[in-house]
Amino acid sequence: MDKKIILKKMKEYPAIVGFIGISILFSILSDRFLTVSNIINVFRQVSIQAVMAFGMTMVIISGGIDLSVGSIFALSAVIMASVLKTGSVFLGIVIALVVGALMGFVNGFIIAKGRIQPFIVTLATMAIGRSLTLVYTQGMPITGFPSTFRIIGRGYLFGMPYPILIMLGTFALIWFISSNTKLGLYTYAIGGNETAAKLSGVKVVKYKIIIYMISGVLSAVSAMLLTARLNSAQPTFGTGYELDAIAAVVLGGASLSGGKGSVVGTIFGALIMGIINNGLNLLNVSPFYQQAVKGIVILIAVLLERED
């Protein structure tokens, strides 16, 4: 009975299959892989990318793409950092979220109102966000925050690191939004057939803006996690994260043409990427070969996913 449900879930979210396959592989190759401390370690590492990827999931389901997540990440991190330096932790976090929401709003507004391809709009805001970050910091990192803030990065609650808890919290939230709210349903509808959504009376502009704002806010949350973990905000933060986030979503079974996908898939997509990195380090694969191994493992993962 239970077995059947698991099998059904596996079919529904093929990323689970890829995840299990690769986990088995690494467990055989390294006895360090399947230890409690390493598993917690991997989850904590994955939390940062995963939170960002949850927002990207919404965007991709809606048929869009958000290349600016890495820049939003950096900008909200450094602005938050400068507020944190004044000692106000709460204010810092709030401002980070506001920065994320604002950047997301700009994205969504230009994309939906201007009817311009998301790729090119977020490519531009990616550049703009990076610039703002460099100007704001003059290229230097901001370091040293109140210890109450740093707890977010390294504290534990009931034996669970905060980043993991925050990841699970955002996961639950986005899962709920996408499967139990009007916003979620409309996201799938817009991505599935935008014309039909419009003809059905969906206010496409409004919902697109909200979707990109969610992506912006989650990038800021993700930035908060890394800033707390490193006790430092870097102007180079988040470079290249957009590809990682998109990869996690696509590995999770979403389609870049929209209308399909789920955060359940995405969390496993992110975990696949995370355990590959972890496994390669554990096995001390030579730096020159690492990428090849990573590429091959990704291909194996998608082939495994396809099998079912």
């Binding site: 973990r229 554990l282 690492q290």
Partner: protein, 289 residues
């Protein structure tokens, strides 16, 4: 009377705009505080000397640097200071400047060809060796070492790694048990070090090919509660790292004094545009507590 004053002012403005010196500075990247420092040193000196400076950023891409330098040539700057992304790939750009009759000074990395009037060096191979030697001294020539590698294929990663590993081989008691890439990035330094700590419970020292990775590694070591038990040596001496050395979290960082290099480059450039100059290397030093 009034007219005469205006004339003088006019001539002064004219002479300023015609005769003022314009220097181009082509940086390999600004995505790294090290080069930001270098730029800041150069900008400051340019203000002091009263010369114009045009800064371009190659974002670590050799082709972008070539384009940048071509654009500087188009602007007819008087001299170009180049911080090459790569010693070989820069030669074409140097030659283009040479062809246009614009003198070139290189900073940090050398050019392996073309005519360069002055090279302000920092020796990455020697720096790597210096780090190995320091670790050997601290560990009394015995222990397990891991190395955090920068972006594979870049000259900094190559040279620093080469110096470090060659020197390390001289100490049979020191074992390089793992060598992993963290792409010169602090966040990756953190996660790679976390993973390495999972795999290797007995690590005695870490050499990171730049401070960013070292600082990330320190955070990982901290959360494992192993701070003080593992020697961390970085490279570049960026301000965060110097602080970390001061408060005892980091054992040492190889200093290249980027700000001084930038400053010197501009100073010598201005000198050259009037006379000639000699080769003045900026010494490496180890920043320790």
């Amino acid at each position: 009377m009034k007219r005469a004053v205006w004339l003088v002012v006019f001539i002064m403005i004219l002479s300023l705009s015609v005769f003022s010196i314009k220097i181009g500075l082509s940086l390999s990247t600004l995505n790294n505080p090290f080069f930001v420092e270098l730029r800041n040193g150069a900008l400051q000196e340019a203000v002091n000397q009263g010369v114009d400076i045009v800064v371009v950023d190659a974002q670590d891409k050799p082709y972008k640097q070539l384009n940048d330098i071509e654009d500087l040539v188009q602007q007819r700057v008087d001299l170009i200071i180049i911080n090459p992304t790569d010693s070989d790939a820069i030669v074409a750009a140097v030659e283009e400047a040479n062809n246009a009759g614009i003198p070139v000074i290189t900073v940090d990395r050398a050019a392996n060809g073309g005519k360069v009037i002055l090279h302000i060096a920092s020796d990455n191979v020697a720096g790597g060796a210096m780090a190995a030697k320091y670790i050997a001294d601290l560990l009394n020539g015995k222990g397990n070492v891991v190395e955090l590698v920068g972006i594979p294929g870049t000259s900094a990663a190559r040279d620093r790694g080469l110096g470090f590993e060659t020197e390390l081989k001289k100490y049979p008691g020191l074992k390089l048990i793992a060598k992993q890439t963290a792409n010169f990035n602090r966040a990756e330094g953190l996660s790679v070090m976390e993973n390495l700590l999972q795999a290797y419970p007995e690590i005695d020292a870490v050499f990171a090919q730049n401070d960013e990775m070292a600082l990330g590694a320190i955070e990982a070591i901290k959360s494992e509660g192993k701070l003080g038990k593992i020697v961390v040596v970085g490279f570049d001496a960026i301000p965060d790292a110097v602080n970390a050395v001061k408060n005892g979290e980091m054992a040492a960082t190889v200093a290249q004094q980027p700000s001084l290099m930038g400053e010197l480059a501009v100073k010598k450039a201005v000198e050259y545009l009037e006379t000639q100059t000699i080769y003045i290397p900026v010494n490496l030093k180890l920043v320790v507590k």
